[in-house]
């Protein structure tokens, strides 16, 4: 029997970037917030032995324990989905701070084009550019409306960056100057300039200098130690929820954090969310936490799964293309090239998660798509994140992957290869979606989330176009050999690709095709907010966290408005067929 606790004003499910932002903003205004986090508490002091590639980068110590819960996966809806038994393609976070602990810190603003992609594409290229199988749609908000929230997140996180002529327009400079120039970033920039592109330093959540944010939290200067993604920062020099928003929330006295609290259900009376049910993983006790407002702030996958398992919202059906929960799941496309140098060695073992240089000339609608068979594009970068020896054994394609030749070539090229990579946008396709698995369960007996996903024609066309551009840059950088990256026959759950999953509980102006409004408030349940990249109606050509942060600040504003006035904050699109 579950124990029912005293009612609180706001409960969040998950305490990472989004849960931390919601907690900090509301608690500062005097609202009582309880944050439920299923993992353990973590501080910078827990990362003193973090420089351990095997423990953290290979065995994934900071990531989700899949023995409790995973997802199932299939390429197509006619296939049988099977469990993702081991982490691979993407790395799910767990514990206080979530994936915001082990991110690289590359922090972007999505483009104005992203937020109005359907309208802008149709206006310029007509209605049939992509064909009818793609669910591209506007996000129900314009860039100008979101701009102040982008800046707010950048200020909190202390983003270090420099102006970029193709960037979304900025009303303020970055809070910190860009990170250091290195021979690798300079090499990329020089090549890009020769090719008449516009390179710039990547915007970074690794601090270029010691920084105090507007909430009074100090983030230390990055040491370029080369252990960033998959690792926590032992110096507190990578912006993360545990050095920014979570301490801010705690200092108000209005925030209560409960760790090891695994939420299994949002309690729903058919009209309102009345609270959540959770299990204390250390004692096995079950609790009901009643709340005036419930905010789902867990990862993309879990936001969708909790709604589906709680029977909230209409599940998406790929056959009829109706329903909204699970709709528009997107991943990312990773075109690229490897540049091999015979006579030069680079200090690739040094680095920082967002030390890099980028060109945006081929992102969004920054170039003309009239004569190409895809829309959107991606940012192209070289990064110097710190190449560690287990995970980096790059050899040319004609060398086998074990044996004497492999050994000597992988040693030779360890400091002699550079990667030029694109983050390509991913557009929603009717057959790519999230739903509940009919067979597989988690340790509590609840259905796992099922991912149905494969690359589309749009993806392949975009991949080959951007790969060609990466090869051009690699050649211009003076490499002796440049090898293009291939896209596999089907998407595979096995090799690591990117943790940039998006969609499932998407925002928009029309309740027929979106689950939440532009405050991330559910159309169907007005005291339930669902925050995170789950709200993205498609995935853009950048890392998502900057946009996630902006949307979280927007949602915090929405929750404040809701506390004052209740009810729906946004009027649904009038053109909607929804009644």
């Amino acid at each position: 029997m579950a124990t029912t606790l005293d009612k609180v004003e706001v409960v969040t499910v998950g305490v990472g970037w989004t849960g931390g932002i919601i907690a900090a903003e509301l608690a500062k205004k005097g609202v009582k917030v309880v944050g439920l986090e299923r993992g353990k508490e973590r501080t910078t002091e827990d990362f003193q032995h973090i420089h351990d590639e095997y423990r953290y980068a290979i065995r994934y110590e900071l990531m989700q324990d899949l023995s409790r819960e995973t997802i199932t996966f299939r390429n197509h809806r006619d296939d049988r989905a099977l469990p993702m038994r081991q982490l691979g393609s993407f790395l799910l976070g767990e514990g206080l701070g979530g994936a915001g602990i082990h991110w690289n810190g590359q922090t972007w603003r999505f483009l104005p084009y992203d937020l109005e992609i359907k309208s802008m594409t149709e206006k310029k290229y007509g209605a049939n550019k992509l064909g009818s199988d793609y669910n591209i749609q506007d996000w129900g908000i314009t860039y100008d409306e979101l701009e102040p929230y982008f800046y707010k997140f950048e200020q909190t996180a202390g983003i270090s960056g420099e102006e970029n002529e193709f960037s979304a327009p900025r009303n303020n400079p970055y809070p910190n100057p860009p990170m250091k120039e290195t021979p690798i970033t300079k090499r990329f920039k020089d090549a890009a300039k020769t090719l008449k592109l516009s390179p710039f330093h990547m915007p970074s959540g690794n601090m270029s200098q010691t920084y105090k944010n507007p909430d009074g939290q100090t983030i230390a200067q990055c040491q370029y130690c080369g252990f960033c993604e998959r690792f926590g920062c032992e110096y507190g020099a990578k912006s993360s929820p545990i050095v920014t928003v979570i301490p801010t929330a705690k200092q108000t006295g209005n925030f209560e954090l409960r760790t090891h609290a695994n939420v299994t259900e949002v309690i729903y009376d058919g009209n309102k969310a009345t609270g959540v049910k959770y299990i204390d993983l250390q004692t096995g006790e079950e609790f009901i936490q009643p709340a005036d407002i419930v905010v789902l702030t867990s990862y993309v996958m879990n936001n969708s799964r909790l709604l589906l398992n709680s029977g909230i919202g209409r599940p998406y059906d790929p056959e009829s293309r109706t329903g909204v929960i699970g709709r528009n799941y997107c991943y990312q496309i990773l075109p690229g090239a490897t540049a091999f140098f015979e006579d030069e060695k680079f200090n690739t073992y040094m680095g920082a998660g967002s030390l890099g240089a980028t060109v945006d000339n081929y992102n969004g609608d920054n170039f003309d798509h009239s004569n190409v068979n895809f829309i959107h594009g991606g940012s192209i970068s070289t990064t110097q994140t710190g190449q560690r020896p287990i995970n980096n054994n790059t050899v040319p394609n004609d060398i086998p992957n074990w044996g004497q030749q492999f050994k000597s070539e992988s040693i030779k090229y360890y400091h002699r290869n550079l990667s030029i990579g694109a983050q390509g946008a991913s557009l929603p396709h009717r057959n790519n979606y999230l739903s509940l698995d009919p067979d597989y369960k988690d340790i509590f007996g609840d259905p796992l989330l099922r991912l149905t996903y494969d690359f589309t024609e749009q993806d392949r066309n975009l991949h080959s176009y951007l790969t060609e551009k990466c090869v051009e840059i690699g050649k211009e950088m003076g490499a002796d050999r440049v090898e293009p990256r291939e896209i596999s026959d089907h998407y595979s759950i096995v090799p690591y690709q990117t943790t940039h999953n998006t969609g499932g509980v998407i925002m928009g102006g029309d309740p027929e095709t979106s689950a939440v409004n532009n405050y991330l408030q559910m159309w169907d349940v007005d005291n339930l907010f669902v925050v995170g990249a789950s709200a993205f109606a498609h995935n853009g050509g950048y890392n998502p966290t900057g946009t996630v942060g902006a949307l979280a600040y927007r949602a915090a504003d929405g929750i404040s408005k809701y506390i004052e006035n209740k009810g729906q904050l946004v009027k649904a699109n009038q053109s909607s067929e929804h009644v």
Binding site: L334, M350, G351, I390, N393, G403, K407, V494
Partner: protein, 248 residues
């Protein structure tokens, strides 16, 4: 960003004609293991004023049969052989690293979803065997021995290096039938565990005396490269292990 260490299935099928040079004769493995232990002790003696301790962690936690451990050792040495660059898997302690890992959470898939039902799955759905990794190694090592007997009428450890490579290649290509797991899954585990043992922090028992890192000119863990990251020339540093972070 995508990892670059693993080959696509298509690519390694393309490489089936590959055979590495060099050979390790039968009976040599035992000698190597013995010598490795000796080397470690001598180096430890040189490096410290106090009397050195024998390497007590070079003992078996998972394997119960020394012949099987020797087969594992020989196979890892073919994957990461001794050459002009420096020591191979055996001298680096990789077989002990793997043995110890198989006895722990890695070998028992503690943090992975191991509930049924089990179905074979497509090439894109990943690990779908009901066997845990320590069982996969047991099954795989027995199969290597069987295959060796079948092909060459000899124990695997007695084969010439090129013959051992031929056998291993059949496993990588999935051309051997194993009970409960594909040969390719086993081979890829063996291959990745070998590299992990060669290059992980020496605290795990591999990367003996940090020689894996030295070959690769990876300096292990340093607190800061703040004042070096902008420099043009390649900077070579003495490697440092996590041991240096323990305050005593």
């Amino acid at each position: 960003m995508a990892e670059r260490s693993t080959m696509s299935r298509r690519r390694f099928i393309k490489n089936t004609s590959y055979a590495a040079g060099g050979a390790i004769g039968g009976g040599f493995i035992g000698t190597l293991i013995g010598r490795n232990l000796l080397d470690d002790q001598q180096e430890a003696k040189k490096g410290s004023k106090t009397e050195s301790l024998p390497d007590f962690n070079h003992a078996l936690m998972h394997f119960t049969n020394q012949k099987e451990f020797q087969l594992l050792s020989a196979a890892t040495e073919r994957i990461f052989p001794e050459d002009d660059n420096g020591p191979g898997a055996i001298k680096l302690g990789v077989p002990f690293f793997i043995d110890h890992q198989l006895a722990g959470s890695y070998g028992h898939n503690d943090r992975e979803y191991m509930r049924g039902p089990f179905y074979p799955g497509s090439d894109f759905q990943g690990y779908q065997t009901r066997l845990k990794r320590h069982e996969v190694f047991d099954v795989g090592i027995k199969a290597i021995q069987n295959e060796s007997k079948k092909e060459f009428d000899a124990d695997f450890v007695e084969l010439e290096g090129k013959q051992q490579d031929q056998i291993l290649q059949k496993f990588q290509d999935g051309d051997v039938k194993l009970k409960g797991v594909t040969a390719t899954t086993f081979f890829e585990l063996l291959r990745s565990a070998t590299l992990e043992g060669a290059y992980s922090d020496p605290l795990y028992g591999g990367n003996g005396n940090m020689k894996g890192w030295m070959m690769k000119e990876f300096p292990g863990n340093y607190m800061s490269y703040l004042n070096e990251i902008g420099k043009e020339e390649f900077i070579k540093k003495e490697p440092r292990a996590l041991r240096a972070h323990i305050q005593s």
